[in-house]
Structure formats: structure tokens, C-alpha cells
Symmetry: C2
Subunit: 106 residues, 2 copies
DNA sequence: AAAATAGGTGACTAAATAGTCACATGTCAA
DNA sequence: TTGACATGTGACTATTTAGTCACCTATTTT
């Protein structure tokens, strides 16, 4: 499960697709293809499938179109449960350092 | 750069190696091998190389041993610069919801 | 109904990655 | 200084993943 999310995020093209949805949610496959002239429609479709399988993208059919929506929940989950373990000790240490520096300045 | 970190984190074995270093920093290759009976020494070494190339692990030679240390900075960076973008709107929304619920209860 | 539009499937090739092995180097301890 | 120990290198195979294509179905639009 977590595995799928990490793998999905490991590809630059897929991160760019998430960025595109973050900028404008609910885009169709065609619209997303327009942003990636370097790839064929099939390439984009495959990446979207991976993102959907990882739960990072949800879709809704609308007639002959398919709308794609960003779902940040899996990212929030790995951030909270896995990354925080490594990042927090460091970031809180940095925050502490920053606080010390500010105190020193006053 | 970010690419290397994401790719490095995409493998379960490598995440397990980071966990091992998180639990006990400064382990040698042999010690880390002992935790992964399913892999050969060479397999473990390759994964450590990937982690080191991504900046997630730093090493110090100590005689005929090589000590491996976890470097959480790259993880903190992707958490702050990339994941926060997606996770924060959600987590802050959740925090807001939680606050609302608590207010309602009182 | 015919043509145009939007998306989907299965098979296929090419590239990247995981994993292994024979062999090589450097280090320590007796 | 010999033998055991700890790690490194280059080549190799197998698996996975990215990317493409010919062909297909479903939905408008005219």
C-alpha cells in the first residue's frame, strides 16, 4: 500500500501530473496530454493508472470524458507516519536553533 | 537531486535499511547484512550505494570497517518543499475539523 | 446514421533496476 | 607474514517498468 505510493511518487512524469492536478483539479486525459507533448496519450494514461492504483488520483466519468482529481490523503499519510519520523527530529532541531538565534539577536 | 531521493525511497529494502540506521546509527555493512538474511552482501551494498548517492546515508571508514549514518536532511527537504504542498492543505483542514468538533463538544 | 471525439485494451520493444557471483583489495591479529 | 576478516569491482542474468502501437468501444454532434 505504502509501497505503491512511494513507487508512484518516484517518477518525475507522475509528480508533474500531480502538480498539474494540484494547479487545476478535475482535468481530462486529453487536457493532461496537452501538458506533456513529449509523451503519447498511452504513456500519460499508464502513469495515471499507476497514480490511481496508488490512490493518489480518483476519477469520475463524465460522458465520454474522464475527470481526474488529486487525492492528497496517501501523501499526508506517508508524511505523517513515515517521513515525520526522520524529518521531525531534524526540523524541530532546526526550529530550536532558529529560536535560539532569534533570542540571541534581541 | 530530488529525483534520486524519491527513487531511493521507493524501494522497501532501502526503507528497511534506513529504519535499521534510525534504530541504531553507525552500523557496518556486515551488521546491516545480518538484518537482511534474504539478501546477499552485494545486494545490501548496492542498496547502500543508492542511499549514499541520494545523500540519505553518509559513511565513515574505520579501519577495515565502514560505518553508515542516516542523514535525514534530504527527507526533511522533500517533506518541506514538496509533500507539504499536498499534505498541508489536507492536514490543516483535518486540524480545523478536529478543532470544530472539540468546540462543539464543550 | 455517419463522422468526429474521448478514452480503453493487449501485445510488444527498450530501458532501468534488482540481485548474484568470481575475483580483488585493504586491514588487523596472532 | 600468514590467515582471517571487511569491503570493493566488473560482468552478468532476471525482473520490472516505461513507452509505443494497432485496434477497439462508447459518446457526442451533425
Amino acid at each position: 500500500m505504502t509501497q505503491d505510493v512511494f513507487k508512484a511518487l518516484a517518477d518525475e512524469t507522475r509528480r508533474a501530473l500531480l502538480d498539474a492536478l494540484f494547479a487545476s483539479d478535475g482535468q481530462t486525459l486529453s487536457q493532461l496530454c496537452a501538458r506533456h507533448p513529449d509523451l503519447t496519450r498511452f504513456g500519460v494514461m499508464k502513469h495515471l493508472d499507476v497514480l490511481e492504483a496508488a490512490g493518489l488520483v480518483t476519477t469520475v466519468r463524465d460522458g465520454r470524458s474522464k475527470l481526474h482529481f488529486l487525492n492528497p490523503v496517501p501523501i499526508a499519510e506517508i508524511a505523517n507516519r513515515w517521513i515525520a519520523k526522520y524529518a521531525e527530529p531534524f526540523t524541530t532541531a532546526m526550529v530550536g536553533l532558529k529560536a535560539d538565534l532569534e533570542k540571541e539577536q534581541s
